[in-house]
Symmetry: C3
Subunit: 138 residues, 3 copies
């Protein structure tokens, strides 16, 4: 019983890239030896988010398109004006989706649905090195 | 101290049905005997989500309407084209809301607000059998 | 190993006020003595939400504006009609953002990104006294 920590490091293209991180999270769970518990998956940074989805090309295209439509990169944003910046849309999209999911662990594996993967979405407008902290609790 | 697992099974109508699952989650907490801890509530599947709200007919109507307006079922989606499918909007709505909430447990009960319930939203475009995994940690 | 509880109490202006609660959450973590684990941060109430963001004036302005644009206060809502109420938009915004985040604890501190803060957003249309429950698990 306790806490088993893992850190995933990944290089992204940014600009809304959606990366399937399920295998990385699963590897932390397996290494932990935890059979029943929960995995906290948390993306570090204010322009990156974590959620779950079926990670297939159509859905990935649609989710990127949806967020670009709801929160256009080209709108006027105070963040950009005040900070001489260009990625206000990335901050907003990340705050809306949120940085974390908590996934149960059963029988030593993530209790995901059949077509459900854990994804990181990097909304920043340039390539980034990202860190995802995984804490497996039991 | 440890992990106490519960699995809620429910049949939904799909199409954005919002189900109050608070009583089911509370039953898992009570059965666990945990007095202080946290309940991880996770919906399995990529077209279903979990959040909290005041589950009353007006708010339920409004939330269904909001998601239908922001993410219309009838738009063009690559998920539908590529997979000869019809539920791309369900995938998008689920990814936006997210699959999990983590609710503190105090004095043996969920630390919800007075008018705050835990809800499952089934966005799929047909009736489904759903599973919600509940892990109570202490 | 166990559960370490904290309760943050704060008075807000409502109307979408975004409050940086990182220092309060961090104080609970420090008081717990936990070096490795996770902090569950949960806002009690159905018109209040928790997420992470860079809490600077531009981003705060933009996020308030985004939610006011996506979910206008002045639209017709059944919640308002049925309950003779005025804050249906607050309920919807809160359900969309969600009530909780789970933040890893490493080396005795929250594993946030450099520019990432934990924020409470009070969407209600009047000042409120709010409670945020923090459970540190290890």
């Amino acid at each position: 019983m306790g806490v088993h920590s893992g850190l995933l490091r990944l290089a992204t293209e940014g600009d809304g890239e959606i990366v399937d991180i399920t295998a990385g999270v699963r590897a932390v769970v397996e290494r932990s030896g935890v059979t029943a518990g929960a995995a906290i998956v948390f993306a570090r940074g204010s322009t990156v988010a974590v959620t779950t989805m079926e990670h297939e090309p159509g859905g990935v295209h649609d989710l990127r398109g949806l967020l670009a439509r709801l929160i256009p990169a080209g709108d006027h944003y105070e963040h950009n004006v005040r900070n001489a910046d260009t990625n206000a849309h990335a901050h907003l999209r990340a705050a809306l989706i949120g940085p974390s999911v908590a996934v149960p662990v059963h029988d030593g594996d993530l209790a995901l649905g059949t077509w459900q993967q854990i994804v990181l979405i990097d909304f920043d407008d340039r390539p980034r090195e990202r860190q995802v902290s995984v804490q497996v609790l039991d």
